[in-house]
Symmetry: C2
Subunit: 200 residues, 2 copies
């Protein structure tokens, strides 16, 4: 089992440092209702503009609702299905386009939904679960099969479950699963005082 | 000092449960370079579509660069300035509009930037710091004063610092600071199997 801690200049909290996005899911280990509730509660308490909570999550749990899970799997890009098919839970994350309080366009909806999703992923990590979000899915098909209204935007398909050994993956994915995690250097994304001035 | 833990059906990790968005910042306590680095490192290791890391953060630290901090403060909505003026660090979070690898529009940019920002907020919480994100700022003015390029979208202004007593706030904000935190019920945002089916 791979535990791939982030490489950082100074120490960061273990819950954040140890979260990553494996593809090797154990097809034989379901997620308990209690753990599912916990990861959703973590998402629920994320911050949002005007406390609007513009996120919606559609949980498709293979154990309790096989048809829904199959619906979710069917909208995922074929290459992703090769590994996502072993995830016992697939969750579609969705952003509402308009504010609740006035019906006007909410330009922070995706931003806030991304925060809620990360909160879910970190709580999963706390429970020994793994998560992997995908942009590679058919958003229009997701609308149909999961019955979404028009005024929302499907953002990501999130696979949730337990980690398996890398060698259970299709060969194409094994090197990636075992590679070191990487990020751009801090100064390439984080600036000091104005745009382009490297943070150090 | 208010510690306002989230109310949840099942237990969630303390780091997530205890994060909230106070407005009472202590104007006399600067954030150390080590702690600033840690919160940025936490953001840096957030997940993103194609590992693009579409976020950019412009850190305006009153201690090391007063002019930059004043620039940041000046773009914040007047009502927010009443409390944000006590935050020793103001950070503009920004989403790049296009993917690095092919220059095409990245529809996940705001979503991923929101995740990185929450990661920052949670690491801040781990260090005894507080954070409060604002949508209420002049994005066009932020572009000018912080020198942003055209192909990015300013998302939020994030205040970072140490918590002060609620009674140090302007009177208008004191009740909110002391009120219980609230979120919609789980079943109003989280569905099971298809849109609208309450998760329970």
């Amino acid at each position: 089992m791979q535990h791939k801690r982030a490489t950082t200049q100074v120490e960061i909290h273990e819950l954040i440092a140890s979260r990553w996005s494996p593809r090797a899911f154990d097809p034989d280990k379901a997620v308990s209702l209690q753990d599912l509730t916990a990861v959703l509660e973590a998402a629920r308490w994320a911050p949002s503009c005007f406390n609007d909570q513009p996120w919606r999550f559609v949980v498709c749990d293979k154990t309790s609702n096989l048809a829904a899970w199959q619906n979710a799997l069917s909208v995922i890009a074929e290459k992703n299905q090769l590994w996502a098919k072993n995830a016992p839970v697939l969750i579609l994350t969705v952003a509402m386009q308009n504010f609740n309080h006035n019906g006007k366009a909410n330009r922070f909806a995706a931003y806030d939904t991304g925060a809620a999703s990360l909160s879910l992923c970190l709580q999963a990590n706390a429970l020994g679960l793994i998560t992997h979000q995908m942009g590679g899915f058919d958003a229009d098909k997701a609308r149909q099969v999961l019955n979404l209204p028009d005024d929302c935007t499907p953002m990501a398909m999130l696979a949730l479950g337990y980690q398996a050994e890398a060698n259970t993956l299709a060969e194409d994915f094994q090197a990636g699963e075992q590679a070191e995690r990487s990020r751009a250097a801090l100064e390439q994304r984080f600036y000091l005082g104005q745009w382009g001035e490297a943070f150090k």
